[in-house]
């Protein structure tokens, strides 16, 4: 790495430069085959897909494994409330959420509010966002602290959309 650092013709990348150089120099490199779930979540599409994989494949990361916890921020939220008008199917919902609408095949981060009559389908909603009555969200990632207005329609069947254009004030 130190040798590679000053070279102007290098992208300083393990895959592109360092490992090929080692191979050229005849160093002994061995592969370790990894069989578990993995995904590079560097784009909106792949981040969305990873959430959908999680829902479709029945916990491929084994988040439920007490002996291999995934530690995270854990803030003092209120409990999760599921209201009398809610319909939940194939979804993961975090603490602090208040859901009285329909959530299908989606992931809700902490403190998300889904009001009565709102629909969230194949989507990922980040912390503290609010989806008002009658709004429809499909194939989206909604960013943190976003506001979806009453009866607003966000997302389509054709592509994955990222919604970050209206913050809750």
């Amino acid at each position: 790495m130190i040798e590679n650092c000053p070279r102007k013709d290098s992208a300083h990348d393990f895959g592109k430069n360092i490992i090929p150089n080692l191979l050229n120099e005849g160093k002994r490199l061995f592969a370790y085959p990894f069989a578990g779930y993995w995904k590079d979540v560097g784009t909106v599409d792949s981040l969305w897909q990873a959430h959908m994989d999680l829902l479709a494949q029945g916990d491929p990361l084994k988040l439920d494994d007490e002996s291999w916890k995934i530690y995270s921020e854990d803030v003092p939220t209120t409990p999760q409330f599921i209201g009398p008008n809610a319909t939940l199917k194939g979804s993961s919902i975090n603490q602090g959420c208040v859901v009285d609408g329909t959530v299908v095949n989606s992931v809700l981060f902490r403190d998300v509010v889904i009001e009565k009559g709102a629909e969230v389908i194949n989507s990922v909603i980040m912390p503290e966002s609010v989806v008002k009555r009658g709004a429809k969200i499909k194939n989206c990632i909604v960013g943190e602290r976003q506001l979806i207005l009453e009866n607003e329609v966000v997302g389509s069947d054709d592509k994955i959309e990222l919604f970050t254009s209206r913050e809750v004030n």
Binding site: P79, G83, L88, K89, N94
Partner: protein
Amino acid sequence: MKDILGIVNFEDERVRIEGLSNFRSIPAMSFLGRYRIVDFVLSNMVNSGMDHIKVLVREKPRSLIEHIGIGSHYNINSKSGSFQILYSDKNITNKLYFTDINLLKQYSSFIKESNQEYVVIAPSYMICRINYQDVVEQHIKTGADVTAVYKQVDDGHKRFIGCEEFDLINNRVVLMKVSHGSTSVKNISLETYVMHKDFLLDLIDEATRRSSAYTIGAFLANDDNIKYINIQGYKYEGYLACVNSLEEYYYTNIDLVNYEKAKDLFDKDWPIYTKTNDSPPAHYTARAEVKNCMVANGCVVQGKIENSILGRAVKIKKGAVVKDSVILSNVIIGEGAIIEKAVIDQGAKILVNKEIAGDDEQIGYVREGDTV
């Protein structure tokens, strides 16, 4: 803002939650899925700007100590603040003498040496959202010996049975007696007292001189004492529940499933702190049916749940139905099982197709770790 010493009091003999308290003390009982009972009083103290807190422990300290630890998850400043768990190291065989006063007597030097002028003493099982600064402010203004917090309730004929109630004349407490539910409108004591540190120390000395069986509440309620101790009432108007029996534990949980009601207790600016454990979000499968529930993290719901509370990491298997019930953490409800109007204690396993149903007379109960 006043610097106040907080003392979390333990429950006396009258408070007993059938079944649940065989395994753990009341402060350590799980509540509303993700909390323990003690979280509410500790959060009230911390949110009131109190950084010096002592928790009195009566018995079965293990699960309480595990939960509250050194208090860091309640945001108690570990350098400038202090957090102590006080338990008796005397072997007291007669339960009659296991009182808050006898325990405080053992630790009176700790109280004497504390820098706080005023003390708030509050039990864990009165679930409320109260700012103790307001109580202390009134206490200083009125010049009372003791300020005792109460709420005027209108459902005293069916709730708060066994709690203490006050008679007040010009806001002075002239009578404290146990409520038997005779009338609906009454002043229910939150068993929360504010007094000067020196007054508390005198009270401890005086009470122990006269009887080893006095509790703070009983000493204040004594017919003679109430005449010469100036006890002023502080009227609290927010949400209040007293979790002093299995029925009250059950109904308080179920009432708070109603989001509108729960808003009286929960407020974003008044967080309820608890020990968190990094469990994954609750997961609902394609066949799940969920109406009116409060669900903690780590749960997996494949069946139908209605008007119920699920603690952490509860598993509801396919075809199972849970209605009007309180399910504590790590419970497994097997395929096709039916649970109605019941409390299922921690870690119990309900087998396939089993039915457990309580009714208005008797709430169903399954013990900790049992397989039925």
